[in-house]
């Protein structure tokens, strides 16, 4: 049996969900991302060895500047695909990759970090990524997000953990278009997606 056929997306029954995306309103596109792999990594950023081990294993350094993320190709020998690393806290990062890759990544990291103090937790399935884009994406978000999302303030490459209405989110600007990635806990995903649909329609 294939693994994928066993899976059911957190928003599979979300109204308007076609397995690919949903339109919020003219000028705002809301996409529900398909499956992604998520890993939570914690360790001491003051420990050079820890940082170097990660860099060597992943082919990209951990973002150490608060509220930023990096995105790069995964080293060929691990898997084909991209990896985004989001700063979550001074000793905490979220790794997001295409589905399935997280297991290879986790394996590599565990191997390389053996004996070093860290924690690596697979959170695949625990979160959902919503992608909001279009000219009015900022307006739609501003209805429930208290961050200043002005292009001069919140720039591509930045991320922030904050709230969207009554849900906690991780928001990142991945493109100047703009394209916002909103990562939300699985059980809040339906609420957040519905909320963005409504806020997009309210502009």
């Amino acid at each position: 049996m294939s693994e994928v056929s066993q899976k059911r997306h957190a928003l599979a029954s979300f109204p308007g969900w076609q397995g690919a995306g949903a339109q919020a309103a003219p000028g705002v596109q809301l996409e529900i991302s398909p499956y992604l792999g998520y890993l939570n990594l914690r360790g001491d950023p003051g420990d050079e060895r820890f940082l170097q081990t990660i860099h060597a294993a992943l082919g990209q350094p951990l973002p150490l500047v608060a509220n930023t993320f990096t995105k790069a190709l995964i080293p060929q020998e691990i898997a084909q695909g991209h990896l985004s690393i989001f700063w979550l806290g001074p000793d905490e990062w979220l790794l997001v990759a295409e589905p399935g890759i997280e297991k290879a990544l986790a394996g590599r990291l565990r191997e390389n970090l053996a004996g070093q103090c860290h924690s690596l937790t697979d959170l695949t399935g625990a979160q959902v990524l919503l992608r909001l884009s279009g000219d009015h994406a900022r307006d739609a978000l501003a209805e429930g997000c208290t961050l200043d999302l002005h292009p001069k303030v919140f720039k591509t490459g930045q991320c922030a953990q904050t709230t969207l209405a009554k849900a906690s989110i991780l928001i990142a600007l991945t493109d100047d278009l703009p394209v916002f990635d909103v990562i939300v806990r699985r059980s809040f995903a339906g609420y957040a997606a519905l909320w963005l649909q409504h806020s997009g329609a309210d502009l």
Binding site: C145, K166, S187
Partner: protein
């Protein structure tokens, strides 16, 4: 938008002149090509696009708009904006109805229906106007003095009083309108778009700063909209147009007309109510243009109001000033208006509110109304000025226009009840205190009054700024600001136009600089400054008789507070302005005393013989003007009211017809009714069995098939609080005990603990021995607060040497993680431990029942499930039916049970597989109700239901979990004297002696050994007055005496498995009292005798979970 939606005119535009007798043939900023029809008190009226309801009513010659609050006096329109105290109306019908709007702020739209909020049986003939003639009985404090006794009758009094006095009618249907919120950030927020605000915004915005400028009017311009002044060589109107264009061209500007800044909170956080529907239909700058028109009626899909939540670096308050009424006898008659309102209606709406106007003022600005009236073709009867003489360019212009000017005169009387007919004018001394001459009567139908101007310091004060008394202008002006804000223009006491423009420009440039922008200087527009005759304070016109004998002199129109009321309050000992406010209701109306407060304070100052500055003001609180609840709620209504968290298995539960209950924010299956299943009325009992209590505590295996249960004959009045039981719950319980049941336990909080010091950390958190746990073993762990009370509980497992997995209660998940992090980060930063929530990573499926192992053994996988390989309280990882799983052999039911963690996305597939494979065992899904019953039968505690933050593990009988030879959070507190009291409430089981009554949870328990050995009986009177049961010994014969209360019921169910009700309770020293009888006091007055037993009702030796 409203204009576009207007229906084609009915062709009576020819009769418009008749319809709108007060509409001027030309002028005004209205669109005469768009006539609108509206209804006021069922009368069809006409107006134009651009009108407010007030201007349209005036145009139609409607004088009486409402009745006053207390005396039911006829009242007309007095102002032209948010200060309006009288024209409070109800707009719309049915679900759309909105009460208590100010007609001056309601943008007219086609088909609008409005009605008076008061007046019974009708506006023109109000029966309660009799109050006006009985005013001596209705003085300040009248309610408090009259309706005090007997207290029990207040509810009846209140109903009558509300009918007599109330304002509008609340809508009874859900609000069909849509509201939204907008968070915004800016460098400079400018409040008010009059001359000062516009200049400030322009100066700041030219530098590139992010500027938001909001004004409550539908058009920007403030006083420029009706000013006769020339600005920079242009008319005020032309200059305004150019300024707005320049402003709109700036890169980072948001223009918000129809938007009231109503709250100023900490750290320059301000709230703005934007009335979107009233907005002219052009796109706002800096924001996305309005979406295309939607299908259907004008209201479909349209946002009614948007609440802005703005964080500004710098705030410029250009809020303008509010004109003050003058206080003279009958100063509330329809036709008495603010002078600025008269000018406003003429210039802005092309409406002349009277045919023969008279101006009464203590300052120059009101003279403009005389000139405007004359220009509009109305007669000007006179200008009555309390000042004896003085210079004044505008006053000169009035005299040059041939208008009579009565210097050194005041109005001492007004005739006319539903409309002013004439006024009495009397010479006054130079200080304005005494009358000194013969009165003269002048006919007029309009009195335009002006007592000077009060800067709108509301927001400045809300921000924490002080205010100071200005002798020059006789008003309070902003003093030191409380935050990063500055006041400017008339709102700062600078009333001259040239000063407003210059000040505005300066603060705008300053603000840009303060926000880090390079200001772009530009020349200040020049205006002609007029010679001004200084204002002379006139807080109350001297009367021919004492105030008590004169006709009423109103201070607060909306609440009918008069000079006499304030004087009475002072005579009765009230001196503080806040107390006088509350005693007289001065400033308590929906207008919050915007017109009346200052005159009220002056009246108080006069009585106390103090300067006004010493009397001070009452506190300014948000909101500046009323805000609809809908706007506060925004999108947080209906489906979006609260996040509804659903488990990965939710869709299956829904398809299976589950009833759900909300647990925290989670939606959990409550039980799964099958077709044909009903709710069974209680009490239930066995058909042929003996009634009465069983020895349930020992009745481990007294399982009865559900079919043998039936209804007991129910004696009248014997209904218990839990009146029915879902048949499904009984079936689910029996399935779990007899064969196999399955539950979605995904909502459990789950935390992974990893790191070098994981053991050391958890030893301090949990009360049990963590270090001694072998890898692969589970333990039931409890967490105590530092006060020793049970905080949370759950199973925890050791996955590796330095790797643990904890579960928390569903509701405690977030709180426990924060609490753990707090200890780690603030108290023990030296511990190398990392916590990660995996609550949503795993779905948890509980398989419960004697057949659970057989089911799992029948599936493919690499986990050995037999007793030897997989003992109770252990954990295994592996593959089950093709899924990567973690399996915990734990039990919250006392049965053989397994909890399976599977990745959330795969949970549904595994659940389906288990349901399919479990068919042979009649696998039964169950919900939280059955879970509760099963755990209660076993005496397992539920934190938050059986505990309330004041229950220690010792109280619960959990001493076996407390390790002596280590320290843990809360341990020391358990040794505190209070925790060792012998009479602490302890957790026990209860059985109803009748064997049938399911006690309501929360039921109070009382001693049985009252005199006579019977449960205490309450006299009927005491039952009726339930709240007065306790105390007052010996006051009246038959009164109940205090009853010794010994505890309360925490959990209570009907146990289908045992065949009788069971309850858990906290009872004082209860563990030593097993076998004792006490009474449960039901809320209907009955008592049920109950027996104290062990809290473990089923399988007390715990054998079933170990098989």
């Amino acid at each position: 938008m409203r204009a576009k939606a207007s229906s084609p005119d009915k062709g009576d535009s020819g009769g418009m002149g008749k319809q709108q007798p007060n509409r001027l043939p030309r002028g005004g900023r209205i669109d005469r090509s768009q006539p609108l029809t509206f209804h006021f008190n069922n009368r069809a009226c006409q107006g134009y696009a651009g009108d407010t309801l007030a201007s349209a009513l005036l145009a139609n010659g409607i004088d009486v708009i409402g009745r006053s609050f207390k005396y039911h006096r006829p009242r007309g329109i007095m102002g032209s904006g948010m200060e309006e105290p009288n024209a409070i109306i109800q707009v719309g019908v049915g679900a759309d109805t909105v009460p208590n709007l100010r007609a001056t702020e309601v943008a007219l739209y086609d088909g609008l229906t409005a009605s008076t909020v008061r007046g019974w049986p009708g506006l023109d003939f109000d029966l309660l106007a009799i109050n006006d003639f009985c005013h001596r009985l209705l003085s300040a404090g009248f309610y408090y003095k009259t309706f005090m006794r007997p207290g029990a009758l207040w509810k009846w009094y209140e109903r009558c009083l509300r009918k007599a006095s109330g304002l509008g009618v609340s809508p009874q249907l859900p609000d069909p309108d849509r509201y939204t919120h907008r968070n915004a950030h800016c460098d400079v927020l400018v409040v008010g778009a009059g001359p000062a605000g516009l200049m400030a915004a322009l100066a700041a915005a030219k530098s590139g700063a992010r500027v938001i400028i909001a004004d409550e009017q539908s058009e920007f311009g403030g006083s420029l909209l009706y000013s006769a002044a020339r600005v920079a060589g242009n008319s005020a109107d032309e200059w305004l147009g150019k300024a707005l264009t320049a402003l709109a061209d700036c890169p980072e500007v948001v223009l918000l007309p129809c938007s009231t800044v109503f709250g100023y909170y900490d750290y320059n956080f301000l709230t703005i109510l934007e009335r979107c529907r009233d907005r002219p239909a052009e796109p706002r700058q800096g924001l996305s243009p309005s979406p295309p028109e939607r299908e259907g009626s004008k209201r479909q899909g349209e946002i009614r109001q948007r609440l802005w939540r703005v964080r500004a670096k710098r705030v410029i308050l250009a809020t303008g000033a509010i004109e003050r009424p003058l206080v003279f006898p009958n100063n509330d008659r329809p036709g008495v208006m603010l002078a600025s309102a008269v000018s406003h209606y003429i210039h802005r709406y092309g409406v002349c509110p009277g045919r023969r106007g008279l101006i009464f003022a203590n300052n120059d600005s009101a003279c403009q109304a005389a000139l405007d009236l004359a220009a509009a073709g109305a007669a000007v009867a006179a200008v009555v000025d309390c000042r004896a003489a003085g210079p004044g360019a505008i006053a000169d212009a009035v005299e040059q226009a041939g208008i009579d000017v009565f210097r050194g005169h005041v109005i001492t009387g007004v005739t006319g009840r539903k409309r002013v007919r004439s006024v009495q004018v009397t010479p006054v001394s130079a200080d304005g205190k005494t009358l000194n001459g013969a009165s003269k009567t002048i006919a007029c139908d309009l009195v335009a009054m002006s007592g000077g101007w009060s800067p709108a310091v509301h927001l400045h004060s809300q921000a924490g700024g002080g205010i100071a008394w200005s002798e020059a202008h006789a008003c309070f002006i902003p003093d030191k600001p409380g935050q990063d804000n500055v006041s400017v223009g008339a709102g700062n006491g600078s009333f001259a136009l040239d000063a407003c423009l210059a000040e505005g420009q300066q603060v705008g440039l300053d603000a840009a600089r303060q926000c880090g922008f390079e200001p772009v200087p530009f020349s200040t527009p020049k205006t002609v400054s007029a010679t001004v005759n200084p204002l002379q304070p006139l807080w109350r016109t001297p009367a021919l008789q004492s105030p008590e004998r004169s006709p009423k002199q109103f201070l607060d129109y909306q609440n009918d507070t008069t000079v006499t009321d304030v004087r009475l309050a002072v005579r009765e000992g009230f001196q503080n302005v806040e107390h006088v406010k509350r005693y007289t209701a001065l400033g308590f109306g929906t207008d919050q005393g915007k017109l009346g407060n200052i005159n009220g304070m002056a009246a108080l100052a006069e009585c106390l013989d103090k300067p006004i500055a010493e009397v001070g003001t009452t506190t300014f609180r948000p909101p500046y003007t009323p805000v609809a609840f809908g706007a506060c709620a925004g999108m947080d209504v209906g489906q979006l009211y609260e996040p509804v968290r659903k488990t990965p298995l939710h869709d299956w539960h829904e398809a299976a017809g589950a009833e759900f209950e909300v647990v925290g924010q989670w939606l959990r299956p409550w039980y799964f009714p099958r077709a044909g299943e009903d709710r069974l009325p209680l009490p239930l009992t066995k058909k042929a069995g003996a009634r009465g209590a069983e020895t349930g505590g020992e009745g481990g295996d007294r399982r009865k098939p559900f079919a043998t249960l039936s209804l007991a004959a129910q004696a009248p009045g014997e209904a218990s609080a839990r009146e029915d039981l879902p048949e499904a719950v009984a079936r689910e319980c029996l399935a779990a005990r007899n064969s196999l049941a399955i539950m979605d336990a995904s909502t459990l909080g789950k935390i992974e603990v990893q790191g070098l010091d994981a053991v050391a950390f958890l030893e301090r958190i949990y009360t049990h021995n963590v270090a001694g746990m072998k890898i692969g073993r589970c333990a039931y762990g409890i967490m105590l607060g530092e006060d020793g009370m049970l905080m949370d509980d759950g199973v925890m497992a050791r996955l590796g040497e330095r790797h643990f997995y904890l579960t928390t209660t569903t509701g405690g998940a977030a709180g426990v993680l924060h609490w753990l992090e707090q200890w780690l980060q603030t108290e023990w930063p030296e511990l190398k431990v990392y916590l990660t929530s995996v609550t949503e990573r795993w779905a948890t499926i509980a398989l419960v029942g004697p057949n659970s192992r057989k089911l799992l053994q029948g599936l493919n996988g690499d986990i050995a499930f037999d007793q030897a390989d997989f003992p109770f309280m252990s954990v295994r990882s592996g593959v089950l039916a093709g899924f990567a799983v973690q399996v915990f052999r734990v039990s919250f039911s006392g049965e053989l049970a397994f909890e399976i963690n599977v990745e959330s996305d795969e949970a549904l597939a595994l659940w389906r597989k288990l349901m399919e494979a479990g068919g042979q065992y009649d696998i039964t899904p169950y919900g939280t109700e059955t879970m509760h019953v099963l755990r209660a039968e076993k005496g397992f505690v539920i934190v938050g239901q059986d505990t309330d933050g004041s229950v220690s593990p010792v109280d619960l009988g959990m001493n076996w979990l407390l390790t002596e030879d280590k320290d843990y959070l809360g341990k020391r507190s358990l040794a505190r004297p209070d925790c060792r009291r012998a009479d602490r409430k302890q957790w026990v089981g209860l059985l109803s002696e009748d064997g049938t009554t399911v006690l309501p949870e929360g039921t109070q328990l009382v001693e049985a050994n009252t005199p006579g050995g019977r449960p205490p009986r309450l006299p009927l009177a005491a039952l009726l007055e339930g709240s007065r049961l306790v105390g007052k010994p010996g006051r009246a014969r038959g009164r109940a005496r205090p009853i010794p209360m010994v505890g309360h019921v925490t959990s209570s169910y009907y146990s289908a498995c045992l065949g009788h009700p069971i309850a858990l309770a906290l009872v004082s020293a209860g563990r030593a009292r097993k076998g004792d009888h006490i009474h449960a006091a039901l809320s209907d007055g009955r008592y049920v005798k109950v027996k104290i037993v062990s809290p473990i009702f089923y399988d007390p030796k715990g054998e079933r979970q170990h098989v």
